[in-house]
Amino acid sequence: MRKFLAIYNREVKSYFSSPIAYIIIGLFLLITGVFYYLIVTSFVQYCMRADMQAQYYRMAPPKLNVNVMAIRNLFQNMSLFMSFFLPMITMRLYSDEKKTGTIELLMTSPITNLQSILGKFSAAVTLFLAMLAFTSVYMILLFIYGNPELGPVLTGYLGLFLLGSSYIAFGVFFSTLTDNQIIAAASTFVFILFFWAIGWVSAMVSPGLGHVLSSFSLIEHFEDFAKGVLDTKHIVYYLSFITMGLFLSFVSIESSRWRGR
């Protein structure tokens, strides 16, 4: 545990003592902020139009759900942006160690590969949580000026957390494969995109195959969280995705010893 914490602390410090963390968090907030603005203003305009129509027809103003019409939309956008930003967090984890040779220090110290993988994974998840925490400002504003339901917001965040951790787990894996950060980031991104896309393809193939494909899709499982539905099957899906990523990282590091590179 002490050694896990040593790795974890070092990684977190290294994120926050370099500009990486600030730039990534800043850019993520910039792009989600723009979309937040667009979504909320279009929702407000829509509400005003609906109010006017209701007055014109002398009806009661309609109840428009901010959870369904704005927040869910925002969550979906965030889940997409995460697939660009999270590979940038994970790309250096092992690639950089391989490039600078510090991997030799780690692998000749009395720490297990599992300890180092979990330390690095947790550090990246911590940075990701910081990123998510800042977006809560958007929700707080909605709670101040509107009347959304809390439940779906919380499940949405849980969904984003699990989804992001899955990205990170595979980000760790791809960074164990190469000493080049760009290659690590690009392959993580393409991998994530692939697991998104099989959800779309499922609509075009036979229903049986489609069902199988869509149950593999990263984003298909996120929909329920965004809607406010908490289903164990989705949680299990993401947890197994994370375990798979970490397991592959472990295998990759072990085998790189035998291959000698």
Partner: protein, 317 residues
């Protein structure tokens, strides 16, 4: 302390280390000498548990590097060719981190870091960010990293590369002072380093051990014939021709320093162990030349090294 038995390591089909065996006693400094790509680093990586051997076994402090790698790792300090430094960290934080993963007890950690800083002369830069340090200091921090947990065995891969002459002397002194408490393996391709610091040398070439002995013995054994440096004030060609015609002379090599015009310098090698000096002197005097210098030239470790690694020769026992 360290036993290496028939270690062989392939990378794909390429054999990097071929059946290497040697032992290092407790407190000894062993020099590991060889040209680039001879298999020095690979052997060291096997010893540090970084790479598994394809065949053969190695033991450090009685623990097998493969089956009991965690026990081995606790007992070794390793300085790879490129010091494994996290560029963005400060020196003290870095050493503190290394101490943590090397399982130094929390209460002893500060002391351990201070000692490592002191031994390597890096106390004055302890708050600097590593990437702003000069190469010499980086190398020393690398050494401090290997020392911080006070390991029984130190494995140093070319520890003096990139240092200036003064620092090189300091590092060598440091390494020497560590022997006794620590068992040290040091790889290098700089020969004087070995004769200055090591008690025993293993010469490795193309993955094979070609010689193993003390530096002195190695030079003695290989310099079978006597060799002298002769300086005479006569035209070189004449002297060369004359000396070559003498009995018992095997080789005459002109060795004038550049810019040396008045005097001729020659290296003369005799056949076998026979004394050739009287013959040489007599012949020079008879020709009416003046003899300025006549000095024995021992075969340097450099020659031994070239001798062993460039020619097909019987391995030295």
């Amino acid at each position: 302390m360290i036993e290496v038995q028939n270690v062989t390591r392939y990378f794909g089909r390429v054999m990097a280390v071929n059946d290497v065996s040697f032992e290092v006693a407790k407190g000894e400094i062993l020099g590991f000498l060889g040209p680039n790509a001879a298999g020095k680093t690979t052997t060291m990586r096997v010893l540090t548990t970084y790479l598994p051997a394809t065949k053969g076994t190695a033991k450090v402090a009685g623990f097998d590097v493969h089956d009991q790698s965690m026990e081995v790792r606790k007992r070794i300090g390793y300085l790879p060719e490129n010091p494994p430094l996290y560029q963005e960290m400060r020196v003290r934080d870095y050493l503190d981190f290394v101490a943590k993963i090397k399982q130094v007890e929390p209460k002893n950690r500060k002391k351990a870091v201070d000692e490592a800083l002191g031994k390597t002369g890096t106390t004055n830069v302890d708050n600097r960010v590593i990437k702003t340090l000069s190469k010499g200091y980086k190398q020393r921090v690398g050494l401090a990293q290997a020392l911080v947990h006070n390991p029984d065995v130190l494995i140093l891969d070319e520890p003096t590369v990139g240092l200036d002459p003064k620092q090189i002397i300091e590092v060598r002194e440091l390494i020497k002072s560590l022997a006794g408490d620590h068992t040290i393996i040091l790889s290098t391709h700089i020969l004087p380093e070995v004769s200055m610091t090591c008690e025993r040398v293993v010469i490795i070439d193309k993955g094979k051990v070609v010689a193993e002995d003390s530096p002195d013995n190695l030079t003695k054994k290989l310099s079978g014939s006597m060799r002298f440096k002769v300086v005479v004030d006569a035209p070189r060609d004449q002297v060369e021709e004359k000396l070559r015609s003498l009995p018992g002379i095997k080789k005459v090599i002109p060795a004038n320093a550049p810019g040396e015009k008045k005097l001729s310098t020659l290296l003369v090698e005799g056949q076998g162990k026979e004394e050739i000096r009287p013959v040489l002197v007599k012949s020079i005097i008879e020709n009416g030349w003046n003899l300025y210098e006549l000095t024995p030239e021992g075969m340097s470790l450099e020659d031994v090294f070239l001798h062993l690694t460039t020619k097909e020769e019987e391995p030295v026992q």
